[in-house]
Homo-oligomer: 362 residues x 3
């Protein structure tokens, strides 16, 4: 679907893609991409994008964001605060990342207290450049608050290169709670994307590096793992915690009940393998009866394929409209409500949930 | 669905419910509820209920049941034996509950033997007041038989306030098997409702107490956990063991095969979050090919919302009829069988499975 | 469906089967089965079967296979190498099975090295009689390579009757990897059927023995468990590893992503409880968007009911054609591709995946 729609709608190619036509189509695309109409900013405007958020390490100086802002271009490009590589003690190069954090924040990280201060400095800087959200990728969810003293003991071990696997679990579980606390304070929407076993294929990882398409989902547990965080912050009206999943069994069993109960919890749209027509249908089927649409955030895609943005939103809008039409013809909702819900799913919910108000725009 | 149907059918209100109409509709409902036609017994008769079962602690003296029987009213209201608060050693106030059990049974519970005797006395008393079933809510299923001696050692520790978490697991696992043994002997149908993490939201629990809507499902395992119980009692024609779930993944994987194999096992209808149109469709889809309808118990709702009873049964009947119609038009079953199956799903199976015979009626 | 179709199509009985007609129909079937037209070879030809594979223990001398070959009959009957009873140290009679392995292979198994040699001898012998595949049934998947020395230590303990439960897990996990290595070398397609808790009902097992219908599925985990095997052999073009499941939650979460990523991995069709109309619909729904049909193997049934073969394939073909028709009318694929895909699902994929080429036929 995506590819056909991109070829036809974006590139004006309606020849069927197969072995015989592949080279011809490749050449046509290359030709188009070399023209000014296919430069990223031109496409951004053609796609009528209102806002595009990048994902950036906590240690990123956001130079390009500053350049875009300085360029005078009207496009609304914002960073997203993703601190995985300084929160997970077992991240590759964690020690070097901490040094980078010191440098970029101007705060010498030498203990837990200065580490927290540096993270808060970065969040403020991201916010200043338009960020409205954070993002956290974890393999298994685990939350558990440590005392400041215990957190510092682990942090010192990590600085000395002596942290154990158990330390990493405890520390990440604690830092997710710290991220929720900071979100309550600074208003950044907190997103969690758990359950992807990264770099599953060791040869691909050795030859080509991280994130090359060899990530395979695992089961994930939300009910018990999120309880410490939700018991402390889940009832707080200042927090928006958006949960994603790669384990669809959690939609009806755990996620919809959690989103239905806790004021802070909202469900992200079908993600990755489930950002698809069937994935969306199953999401509507298993989530909405319990959670309702207003505990979801509508649709945001996390594509790395820029030209797929319009079709991905189009698929979601059609899937949502089709679901609402089914409810309407069976008289489970009426046409008046269906129209409001269609717009909410397609547009309003995402804008509200991620706190993109005109007031916050540049 | 439920709310609209209740408003229209029960209360005669067909104005659409929304922010503008809410106060007006609230007032109309209050007015209706104050009239004699909306007293519980009047609604029971209007709803054409044949039997209504309450859920009662093992320590409940069933005073109201005796009063209803003494009142001469024709309604068939029966108790259900739910001994969670004396079976789970880690139940709040377990020690006080044991004292209450001694008092209400007239048997001084001082060791495992007298404890069993008191439980058997209560079952007999419940049965005398019309009970045909027991109900057991457990977080995780675990069954394992202890020797009488080992059970007594744990029980004595619990009486002295020294029981460990491990003791509680072992004892509950043993007592589920004892409950199956007693059911084989006294004929009470045994129901198990596992997998709800109760009182998930600590603030709600502290402010408002137990069971206030903050219960979130967890995964549940039946195949391994129920094996000890099923190996001892699962082939016994005297036992009916009705299993419910909040983890739909178990329908096709574990529950339908277990119900298809063991003579004692039957599946309860979609429960709680799944007592819904989609929940029922998924139940029919994933259970029936393997288990067949005659290993299910049709429909019983466990509502606390009295006025929702008619619509909940109506939704089930329509969902069942719709499923059967789909099988019929595709010629997987014929019209003759469909008619019998529709009645079985709507009425006969529940009555038979819960052993409500005219003979047992008051 | 199966039974009705078998009665009508194979036995020419179109009277409806129920309590009243059962004895009459039983008699008619018995009468038919006594005629020459209903002998196995006649049915094989009538069913137009191209190839039928049996499942045989590693210790099986394959006498009947040699007899069929010697008989001059044109039917293509092949063995499949299933070594569970010599690979799993906790298999009933494992020690006796090893003696049988020595005898049948002509290699005196006295240590790990001779054990491997005997297994390789058997695989070569199976292959000589037409085998193109192996089959492995395990309760839980676990793969982990041991050094030859460590494998030998465990093997010696097992020969002496001293192997522990932990030894059995380690050894099976190692031997699954050895089987993959041998498949890379000899080209036998490797099938894994995990997740069935065998002989769940102890009384049935004691009275009637193994595999009498009391097998209940359990959850299964592929992502982490298969990683050691896939990291060593998953990218090897010589290996075809066909995975089956009794836990449908793994289709979208683990199996489709694994099959989509690793060149060696293909998904087997819906198996056992899921070899059904609904099971197939859910398979198409949850697998194909991520894996695509060319990472599946089309359909093979594993029936023990010979007369069910035609209808089982017919159900699959109709289910597949119905799914493709749905994609076609919604313009997700076109008619040209649908026709190719229908044939691939029904016929080509199974033949290619299991490496049945005319060249290999007798």
């Amino acid at each position: 679907m995506w590819l056909t729609d991109e070829l036809v709608t974006i590139f004006g190619i309606d020849e069927k893609l197969n072995g015989a036509s592949a080279q011809r189509i490749y050449d046509q695309i290359s030709e188009k991409l070399a023209t000014p109409e296919f430069r990223p900013r031109a496409l951004y405007e053609r796609f009528n994008v209102e806002v595009l958020c990048t994902t950036d390490a906590a240690t990123d100086p956001l130079t390009y964001h500053e350049q875009i802002r300085a360029s005078g271009w009207r496009g609304d490009i914002r960073p997203t605060f993703r601190p995985d590589n300084v929160l997970n003690l077992d991240a590759a190069n964690w020690r070097a990342n901490i040094d980078a954090l010191s440098q970029v924040s101007g705060i010498q990280v030498r203990d837990y207290r200065t580490y927290i201060a540096a993270l808060e400095q970065r969040r403020a800087f991201f916010k200043q450049l338009g960020a409205t959200a954070t993002d956290h990728a974890v393999l298994t969810l685990y939350t558990n608050e440590l005392s400041q003293a215990d957190a510092d003991v682990i942090f010192q071990r990590a600085l000395n290169g002596d942290a154990t696997a158990g330390d990493a679990v405890q520390f990440s579980g604690h830092m997710l709670m710290e991220m929720a606390r900071m979100s309550v304070e600074d208003g950044l929407v907190m997103q969690v994307h758990p359950g992807s076993f990264r770099n599953h294929n060791a040869s691909v990882y050795q030859k080509f590096g991280a994130d090359k398409g060899a990530d395979i989902p695992v089961t994930i547990e939300y009910t018990r793992n999120l309880r410490p965080l939700l018991n402390k912050y889940g009832n707080d009206p200042h927090l928006t915690l958006i949960l994603f999943t790669l384990d669809e069994t959690t939609y009806a069993r755990e996620l919809a009940p959690l989103a239905g109960h806790y004021p802070a919890v909202k469900l992200g749209p079908p993600w990755w393998f489930y950002d698809s027509l069937n994935g969306m249908r199953r999401f509507f089927d298993t989530v909405m009866e319990t959670a309702g649409i207003y505990n979801t955030v509508g649709f945001n895609d996390d594509t790395r394929a820029f030209a797929s943005i319009p079709v991905r939103h189009d698929v979601w809008r059609r899937a949502g409209a089709n679901w609402l039409a089914g409810l309407t013809v069976r008289h489970l909702i009426d046409e008046e409500d269906a129209a409001v819900m269609a717009r909410a799913l397609a547009y309003d919910l995402a804008k509200q949930s991620y706190r993109f108000s005109p007031h916050e725009s540049k």
